[in-house]
C-alpha cells in the first residue's frame, strides 16, 4: 500500500467517525432538546398556535382555511380566504403555490374567472377588487386577506346572515392588523379569526339558512 492510499483510507475512517458523532449531536440531541425546551416554555406556539372553540380544535391561527362547500362553492355566510393551490384548496399537509408564470394564459383566465365570481358574489366593481382576492398565495395556506378584500365582502356576508352591514363592518375594522412594528409587511385580516368572531356575534347564521 502506498502512503497516499493509507493516508486517504485513514481520512475516510476519521470522516465516518466524525459523521457518527455529529449525527448524534446535531441530528438527535439538538432537535430533541429544542423540542423539549420549546414545548416546556412556549407550548401553544410550538404546537402550531391551535384555536379551541367549545373544547374542540377548529384550526390554527396561522393556517388559512376554505369557507366553501364540498364542491368549492363559496358559502355566503362566511368571509372568503384567498384562492389556494394547496391540494384541493387549503390542504395544510400539501402546501403549494400555483407556480403559474406571469404571462401564462391559464393564470390570466383563472384571475378573470375569480374576478367575475367576486363581482357576482359581492356585487363589487371589478376595478375595486384587490390583487390578493384573485391570486393564490405562495404556501396555499395564507391565513390572511387584505383589509380591502375583507371590507369588500361585508355587504354580501351581512345580507346572507341578515345582519346590519354597519355591524359587520365594525367587526371587520376591529380585526384589521396593522403592519408589524408599523412598517414591516402589509396590513392583514386573519380570515379564520374574523369568521370565529362573526360566529360569536351571530351564532344562528353559521348554517347560512337566512
Amino acid at each position: 500500500m502506498s502512503p497516499t492510499f493509507r493516508g486517504t483510507a485513514r481520512q475516510y475512517w476519521v470522516a465516518v467517525r466524525a459523521m457518527v458523532v455529529l449525527t448524534v449531536v446535531l441530528g438527535i440531541a439538538y432537535p430533541l432538546a429544542m423540542t423539549g425546551i420549546g414545548q416546556l416554555t412556549m407550548p401553544v406556539r410550538a404546537s402550531g398556535s391551535l384555536i379551541q372553540e367549545h373544547g374542540t380544535t377548529v384550526g390554527s391561527s396561522l393556517i388559512g382555511q376554505s369557507f366553501t362547500d364540498a364542491k368549492g362553492v363559496p358559502l355566503a355566510q362566511w368571509f372568503q380566504s384567498r384562492p389556494s393551490a394547496a391540494g384541493d384548496g387549503y390542504d395544510a399537509n400539501a402546501s403549494s403555490a400555483s407556480n403559474l408564470g406571469p404571462n401564462n394564459p391559464a393564470l390570466t383566465k383563472a384571475i378573470d374567472a375569480r374576478k367575475a365570481q367576486i363581482e357576482k358574489l359581492d356585487g363589487a366593481d371589478a376595478s375595486s377588487i384587490p390583487p390578493d382576492a384573485v391570486t393564490a398565495s405562495g404556501s396555499g395556506l395564507d391565513p390572511h386577506i387584505s383589509p380591502e378584500y375583507a371590507l369588500l365582502q361585508v355587504p354580501a356576508v351581512a345580507e346572507a346572515r341578515g345582519l346590519a352591514a354597519s355591524k359587520v363592518e365594525t367587526l371587520v375594522k376591529s380585526m384589521i392588523q396593522g403592519r408589524d412594528l408599523g412598517y414591516l409587511g402589509e396590513p392583514t385580516v386573519n380570515v379564520l379569526r374574523l369568521n370565529l368572531a362573526l360566529s360569536e356575534l351571530d351564532p344562528g347564521g353559521d348554517s347560512g339558512r337566512k
Binding site: M34, S47, L62, P102, G138, S146, L184
Partner: protein, 557 residues
C-alpha cells in the same frame, strides 16, 4: 409611501448587521485562530482519531474535505433508502434511488435543492438525522474552506493551511450550534412549530376537515437560514406559515441569512492583519446587494406580465403578510447568498423580477454569498481584479502582499469558469439530447413559452451555484433532472473548492512581499469599484445571451 417602507425595512437590516458583524466577525477570527480546544472538542478528537495540533498541507486538507463530504453523501443516501424501517417516519416508504441520490448530494453540497415535496416524502428521522445534520456540516465545510484561503493570505512561507477536522468542529460547535439554539427559540416565539406530533385532522367551522402537520421545524429552520442552506421542512418553504409566520419573523430570517456572510469580511480583515481590507470586501458586497434589491423591488412593484396586470398587482405566489417588499427582500437575500429558501413562488415573479433572482445567482453568489463560499468567491474575484488592474495600469499584481503570478491567476480563472460551464452545458444538453429533450419538454417544464425555458435555466443556475431555489412549477423528479442536477451540484461545489484550497496552498507557501509605491492599494473605494466592475462584467459576458433567450425576452415582450 412604498419607498419609505422599503427604506425603513432595508435600514433595519443594515442596522442589525452593523451592530452584529463586528463582534461576530471578531469571534469568528478568534475561533479559527485560537490554539485552545474546548474540553468537549478534545473528547471528540479522541473519538474520531484526530490530533488537533497537527497542521495539514493543502493536499491533505482537500482530501479531508472530500472524504467528509463523500461519507456525508453516503449516509444521507442510506438513511433515505432505509426510511421505511426508521422511527417517526410518518408511515412514509423508502425514498426512491434517483431522488435519494439527488437529495443526498443536494444537502451535502449546501444546495438544498428539493426535487420532492417534503410533506409526502420524508419523515422526522430523515429530516433530523440526515437533513438537519447536513444543514450544519455543509455550512461548516464552506466556512472551513474560506478560513483556509484566508490563512493562505495571512501565512508567510508556510507549508500548511490549518487542520480541516478542527475547523469543521469549531465552526459547528462554537459558531453554528449556539446561534441555532438562540434563534430556534426566537422563531418558536414567533410561531414556528417545534414538536413531534403526527399530522392530525381538525374540524373547521365551515364543516370540513383540515390536516394540520407537525414536526421539529424551528430547529431546522434556524440552521437552514444561518447556514445558507434553504431546504424547506415543507414544500412551500419559508412561505409556509409554520416556517415563517409573521412579517417580523420574515425580517429575522433575512437577517439570519446575511449574518455570518456579512461578518466574515471582518474576520478576514482581522486574520490578515488589516481590517480595512475586510471593509473593502464588505463594501463591494453591500453595493451589489442594495442595487440588486432595488431592481427586483422595482420590477415587482411595476408588475410586468399579462396575468399580473389582470390581477392588478404582483401577488400571485406571494403571502399577504409579507407583501411585495417583504418578498423581494427575502428573494434577493436568498439568491445573493447561497440559501435558496423562498417565501414566495419565484415561478410567479414578474419576468424581470424572476430574472433578478437568476442574475443574483449568476454573479457567483458573492454579495455576500453563502456561508464561507461567498467570502472565498469574492476573494478569488479580488485576485482576478488585481490581475486585470495590473494589466491595465502596469502595476505589479499583488494582493495582500502576495504575488499574483501565473499559477494563482490560472487557479482563479479555472474557479470562475467551472460554474458557468456546468450551468450552460446542463441547460444546453436538456434541450439538445434526443430522448432527454422530450422528457424535459413534456414532463419537466410547467409553464409555456419562454418562461418554460427560464424554468430549466433557473434549475441549472440554482444547482450550479449551490443555491437551491427554483422556478417551482417544474417536475424535477425525473431520471434526467435528478441525475443532471445531482452531478452539477456535486461538481459545482467541489471542483471550485479544489481550486480554492490549491490557491490557499500556493499563497501560504509564498513569502510576504514588501509594500512599494508600485503596489495597488486594495482598501480604497477605487478598488471596491474595480472589484464590483470585474464581477459584473464577467457575469454579463457569460450569461447575457442565455438570459436573452428566457427572462429578458419575456420581460421585454
Amino acid at each position: 409611501m412604498e419607498f419609505w417602507l422599503f427604506l425603513a425595512q432595508l435600514a433595519t437590516v443594515a442596522l442589525l448587521l452593523a451592530i452584529c458583524h463586528r463582534p461576530l466577525g471578531d469571534y469568528l477570527a478568534i475561533t479559527f485562530t485560537s490554539r485552545r480546544d474546548l474540553r468537549v472538542e478534545r473528547g471528540i478528537y479522541r473519538i474520531i482519531g484526530v490530533d488537533s495540533k497537527s497542521e495539514q498541507s493543502w493536499q491533505v486538507y482537500l482530501r479531508s474535505v472530500l472524504a467528509f463530504s463523500i461519507v456525508g453523501v453516503l449516509i444521507v443516501y442510506l438513511l433515505q433508502r432505509l426510511q421505511a424501517w426508521l422511527p417517526y417516519s410518518l408511515g412514509l416508504p423508502a425514498v426512491p434511488q434517483g431522488l435519494s441520490f439527488n437529495t443526498a448530494i443536494s444537502f451535502v453540497t449546501n444546495t438544498n435543492w428539493q426535487s420532492y415535496s417534503p410533506e409526502a416524502t420524508v419523515g422526522y428521522t430523515v429530516q433530523m438525522a440526515a437533513l438537519t445534520v447536513q444543514n450544519f456540516v455543509s455550512a461548516a465545510v464552506g466556512l472551513a474552506v474560506a478560513i483556509a484561503l484566508v490563512r493562505g493570505f495571512a501565512a508567510h512561507r508556510s507549508g500548511t493551511i490549518g487542520n480541516f477536522w478542527v475547523d469543521l468542529m469549531r465552526g459547528t460547535l462554537r459558531v453554528l450550534l449556539p446561534l441555532s439554539v438562540i434563534f430556534t427559540l426566537v422563531l418558536i416565539a414567533g410561531g414556528v412549530i417545534e414538536n413531534l406530533n403526527a399530522v392530525h385532522a381538525v374540524h373547521t367551522i365551515a364543516g370540513a376537515t383540515q390536516n394540520i402537520p407537525g414536526g421539529p421545524v424551528a430547529s431546522q429552520e434556524a440552521i437552514k437560514l444561518i447556514g445558507n442552506n434553504g431546504g424547506g421542512f415543507f414544500n412551500a418553504n419559508s412561505a409556509h406559515p409554520f416556517e415563517n409566520p409573521t412579517a417580523w419573523t420574515n425580517l429575522v430570517e433575512v437577517f439570519l441569512m446575511l449574518l455570518v456572510p456579512f461578518s466574515l469580511p471582518r474576520a478576514f480583515g482581522r486574520i490578515v492583519g488589516d481590517r480595512r481590507q475586510g471593509y473593502a470586501i464588505l463594501a463591494a458586497m453591500a453595493v451589489i446587494f442594495v442595487v440588486s434589491l432595488s431592481l427586483m423591488t422595482w420590477a415587482e412593484s411595476a408588475g410586468g406580465g399579462a396575468a399580473t396586470q389582470a390581477a392588478g398587482g404582483a401577488m400571485e405566489g406571494k403571502e399577504q403578510r409579507f407583501g411585495i417588499l417583504g418578498t423581494t427582500l427575502f428573494g434577493t437575500t436568498s439568491t445573493l447568498t447561497s440559501t435558496g429558501a423562498v417565501n414566495a413562488a419565484h415561478d410567479s415573479l414578474t419576468p424581470l423580477g424572476g430574472m433578478m433572482a437568476m442574475l443574483n445567482m449568476m454573479t457567483g453568489e458573492v454579495a455576500p454569498g453563502g456561508i464561507g463560499a461567498g467570502l472565498y468567491g469574492i476573494l478569488v474575484m479580488a485576485v482576478v481584479a488585481v490581475f486585470l488592474a495590473g494589466l491595465m495600469v502596469g502595476r505589479t499584481p499583488e494582493y495582500l502582499r502576495k504575488h499574483i503570478g501565473a499559477r494563482e491567476v490560472k487557479l482563479a480563472s479555472l474557479y470562475f469558469l467551472t460554474t458557468p460551464t456546468l450551468i450552460l452545458a446542463g441547460t444546453a444538453l436538456s434541450f439538445g439530447v434526443p430522448g432527454v429533450v422530450q422528457s424535459v419538454e413534456k414532463t419537466t417544464i410547467f409553464n409555456p413559452g419562454q418562461h418554460g425555458f427560464s424554468e430549466i435555466l433557473y434549475a441549472f443556475t440554482s444547482a450550479g451555484n449551490n443555491n437551491g431555489s427554483a422556478f417551482g412549477g417544474i417536475s424535477a423528479n425525473t431520471p434526467w433532472m435528478n441525475a443532471a442536477l445531482g452531478c452539477v451540484m456535486f461538481l459545482a461545489r467541489f471542483v471550485p473548492i479544489v481550486f480554492v484550497i490549491a490557491l490557499a496552498g500556493s499563497l501560504a507557501a509564498q513569502e510576504k512581499s514588501p509594500v512599494t509605491t508600485g503596489t495597488l492599494p486594495t482598501h480604497r473605494p477605487m478598488f471596491v469599484g474595480l472589484l464590483v466592475g470585474t464581477i459584473l462584467i464577467i457575469t454579463a459576458l457569460t450569461y447575457f445571451p442565455v438570459l436573452a433567450l428566457g427572462p429578458l425576452a419575456e420581460g421585454l415582450h
